[in-house]
């Protein structure tokens, strides 16, 4: 990491902007008759990297959308420092940022404009300062040369980095990542993991990462929650997770390929 994006992160009243804590209590989410999340309770401490892991379809991204306030739970609550994330005031106060799986960059405007949108719309500072802020974020992610490009001209890895840069410009106190390493090659996955880990220290932010990337989760996380079929199967540190004596958890962390007993046939049977 080249340099800290924010030398002084303060609220308008001058108080320091500290990372926030997240409380999820008895959260359930149904889509019609399908229960996608079942009674999830967990807490994320201020400043930690908390990874939500689990196989595809286990409800990880659905849980992240509840934490971001994009969807409302069927039952239970999510609180960010005691406030409801679905309220615009809460999102505004804590500058909650979400890095979407596919980037969700605005395709009709340039990379620079994507990054400048938040400070411009919220009139956070004069245009010259916005430019400095955007260029600093681009520099941190080695994207200075991409400022004038459009999202359609970027590779998958660059889109992810631009999405992270866009989140950084918001000076967030809570940074959410949805599958930040999906569809990336191993080297780029490692790069993104390094960026997430470094940002934690550089901007002192609480990070919640949704991923099925075992290397990312076990390397950079302070704690890991393992979701399976909408239920919380484990909640511990990466070291503790490696020692969990649960066959399903072990199988998820170290899957073996057994052509005599193919896994897909067991899926069909279940």
């Amino acid at each position: 990491m080249k340099k800290a994006i924010l030398k002084e992160r303060t609220n308008p009243d001058g108080s320091p902007r500290n990372p926030v804590g997240v409380e999820v209590s008895n959260l359930s989410k149904n889509f019609g008759s399908q229960r996608v999340l079942k009674d999830i309770t967990l807490s994320v401490k201020p400043g930690e990297i908390f990874t939500i892991m689990g196989p595809s379809g286990s409800g990880k991204s659905v849980l992240l959308r509840q934490i971001a306030g994009l969807d409302l739970p069927t039952r239970g609550t999510v609180r960010i420092n005691g406030d409801d994330p679905a309220e615009p005031d809460t999102r505004d106060r804590f500058a909650l940022a979400l890095v979407f799986q596919a980037g969700a960059l605005f395709n009709s405007i340039s990379v620079y404009d994507n990054l400048a949108l938040y400070p411009l719309e919220h009139r956070l500072c004069p245009k010259r300062d916005i430019r400095d802020r955007v260029m600093r974020a681009l520099k941190i992610l080695s994207l200075e040369n991409a400022a004038k490009k459009f999202p359609s001209e970027l590779s998958g890895g660059m889109k992810k980095r631009v999405a992270i840069a866009r989140a950084l410009v918001m000076e967030p106190q809570l940074l959410l990542y949805d599958e930040p390493t999906s569809e990336l090659d191993p080297v780029m996955s490692a790069t993104i993991s390094e960026i997430i880990a470094t940002l934690k220290h550089e901007i002192n932010v609480t990070s919640i990462v949704v991923s099925h990337d075992r290397d990312l989760a076990l390397t950079i996380s302070d704690r890991v929650a393992l979701l399976m079929k909408g239920e919380l199967r484990a909640l511990c540190t990466p070291d503790e997770l490696r020692k969990v004596d649960d066959p399903a958890v072990k199988d998820f962390l170290n899957p073996t390929i057994d052509l005599k007993k193919p896994r897909y046939q067991q899926l069909e049977a279940s």
């Binding site: 971001a68 306030g69 994009l70 615009p88 999102r91 505004d92 909650l96 940022a97 979400l98 979407f100 799986q101 596919a102 969700a104 960059l105 605005f106 395709n107 009709s108 949108l117 938040y118 719309e121 919220h122 009139r123 918001m170």
Partner: protein, 250 residues
């Protein structure tokens, strides 16, 4: 019953969308650039096709009316008939149909795509209300360019009628006579009637387009369905509203 529920649901959500969009009206000066951009995309870019369409509507109207009026010995009234038909009815309706097909469909496709690919979610997490960022500029823009497009179409249609009257031997009405009869019965209130219709049509079309786009869920297939739904709903709304507005203004 499900279709009725869906219709009421869409209607309710359109009303909410209007309320939320105009709730952020105090921020209008900040979105002026986007209003101008939308006026360009929707209005200026439609001028060519409105001109061509209107010319031929005026021409066809003059041709049909001219031959019929001649049978009754009343071809001197052709200017009145073409002029009033265009300004009160055909002008606003045809420009509205064009707007639904050209601009409304494009808006639905764009917003539906933004919704499906989570760009709208990104706006929400940035605390930028999509109603202010995406909907209000389009609604304000259409209120600006719709009357201009309509008047432009009406005037071009009048000229289309004049050209046919002069050059089709079977009709043979001179432009001076045509425009004299047009002016004789045309009043400012009739022009206003047409412009009021145009404003309402334009507003409803863009509202339907935005609402349908922002309510789209699923994948790329649903974007296509959303565009179809938006255009069909707009066309039906134009014709139904046309009856009620005409009745109210009569």
């Amino acid at each position: 019953m499900n279709k009725l529920n869906a219709l009421l649901d869409a209607f309710g959500s359109a009303i909410l969308l209007t309320g939320r969009a105009f709730g952020s009206l105090p921020t209008a000066p900040r979105i002026l650039k986007r209003v101008v951009e939308q006026a360009f995309l929707g209005g200026y870019a439609s001028l060519g096709i409105v001109t061509i369409l209107s010319f031929f509507i005026g021409a066809v109207l003059a041709l049909q009316a001219g031959l019929t009026l001649q049978d009754f010995g009343a071809k001197q009234l052709i200017g009145t008939l073409v002029g009033e038909s265009l300004v009160r009815e055909l002008g606003p309706v045809m420009v509205a149909i064009l707007l639904a097909g050209r601009v409304g469909s494009a808006i639905t496709a764009e917003l539906a795509s933004m919704k499906v690919y989570q760009e709208v979610d990104a706006l929400v997490t940035m605390n930028i209300p999509p109603e202010r960022f995406l909907v209000l500029p389009r609604l304000l823009a259409v209120l600006f360019y719709m009357p201009i497009l309509t008047m432009m179409g009406v005037v071009v249609g009048w000229f289309g009628g004049a050209v046919i009257c002069k050059y089709v031997a079977a009709i043979g009405v001179e432009p001076s006579q045509y425009f004299q009869s047009l002016r004789a019965y045309l009043t400012v209130s009739k022009v206003w009637d047409g412009l009021i219709k145009a404003e309402i049509f334009g507003f409803v079309i863009i509202l339907i387009a935005c609402n349908t786009g922002l309510r789209t869920t699923g994948g790329p297939r649903e974007i296509g369905f959303a565009v179809t739904r938006s255009v069909v709903a707009s066309l039906i709304s134009i014709l139904v509203l046309d009856y009620f507005i005409t009745k109210a203004l009569a």
